[in-house]
Symmetry: C2
Subunit: 217 residues, 2 copies
């Protein structure tokens, strides 16, 4: 049984379905870290409700001001357009966000007696996000194993997959991709121009799976 | 320069003075994790102000309900009296608290460009608190080194000291121990009967240093 860190994005929605298909989704932790828009969170809540997975929304918006100038959380910073490989995409890093989310998820796992924390980091994230890399998730797994009386493990089945492989898996699992949100901007439609939109679109193309997302451009 | 996780308790106050004596205290992070009383936090703020150390109070009281039945945060759970070696003291464990605090401190360190996070765990804490043990802090240090572009390290100079050695060090550094708070109960005076009060009193006795604390018993 696993406590899943769940954003409502494509990757973690596929992970949620994967856990559900194995009857291993104990509870989801949805984190409001002060991201500028709440569309991901809305989708996350809806998907948990549809799949009958209990969930909590952890409100960490109270500490967003500590995170500095990330363009995902700071109203004065504009979200960049372009590919993840572009250096301007670094402004989308929220410092140590994944460690914070996994720490809280682990606390919750301990509280409810679950010994697996599941997390959907994948290989495509690694270029600009240090806290998605194997060396990070391996080290984090080592911490979870000793943070409490009993071992907890970090389940990260996508760590060596790219996003198109996750799309393929999601299609096999019957995921309704329309019910997932990637775009950093959070307008009515996916913008199609920010790093995560470009990656999303490319993943469907590479997987040769119809992309149900409507992009502005 | 170091970002210190600072509670207002005896140990972290000595650490704050130690950093200050070396001119290495960049900023303090004081965490409100929903502990039942705010006396520690009040002392922490006062001490930062007196030492001219910038500080933030991270309000995590929004997620306390996720932590379950810890007697430090859950109003329905009574704080036990007795020695830390007593099994009933386990109710004072707040699941994964230290990892959460250090995760947030690390985010803040990244945001302000500091590459050391300082933390006052000591050897006396180890019996019932897994997240104060060497294996935990060593693993955590390994995570911090890879959580961002540049290495961050976890400075834990007290990890092999007991509390009486910390008291001795504090006395050498001129710490006013009256301006620190240990008691889990948070009444007008230290109760003298909870695990942390008993440890505090014993530490002064072993260090052969006058204890300025007024205990109820």
């Amino acid at each position: 049984m696993a406590l899943i860190v769940y954003s409502g994005g494509l990757d973690s929605t596929v992970l949620l379905h994967l856990l559900k298909s194995k009857n291993e989704a104990t509870e989801a932790l949805i984190v409001d870290y002060g991201q500028k828009h709440k569309k991901e969170i809305d989708f996350a809540i809806k998907n948990c409700q549809n799949l009958n997975v209990p969930y909590n929304v952890a409100d960490l918006s109270t500490i967003t001001h500590l995170f500095g100038n990330s363009s995902l959380t700071n109203k004065n910073e504009e979200i960049p357009t372009g590919n993840y490989n572009d250096s301007n995409m670094k402004s989308t890093v929220v410092p140590n966000r994944n460690m914070i989310m996994i720490s809280v998820a682990t606390a919750r796992a301990i509280a409810i007696g679950t010994n697996v924390v599941a997390y959907a980091a994948h290989s495509g994230d690694h270029a600009i996000y240090p806290d998605c890399r194997n060396e990070f998730t391996n080290a984090l797994d080592s911490v979870l194993r000793v943070c409490h009386y009993d071992e907890i493990t970090l389940y990260r089945p996508f760590i060596d997959l790219n996003k198109s492989q996750i799309v393929k898996l999601g299609a096999e699992l019957g995921v309704d991709f329309k019910q997932t949100w990637s775009c950093y901007k959070g307008e009515d439609l996916h913008c199609g121009k920010c790093g995560t939109c470009m990656e999303r679109r490319q993943a469907f193309q590479e997987a040769n799976i119809p992309d149900p997302t409507i992009y502005q451009q």
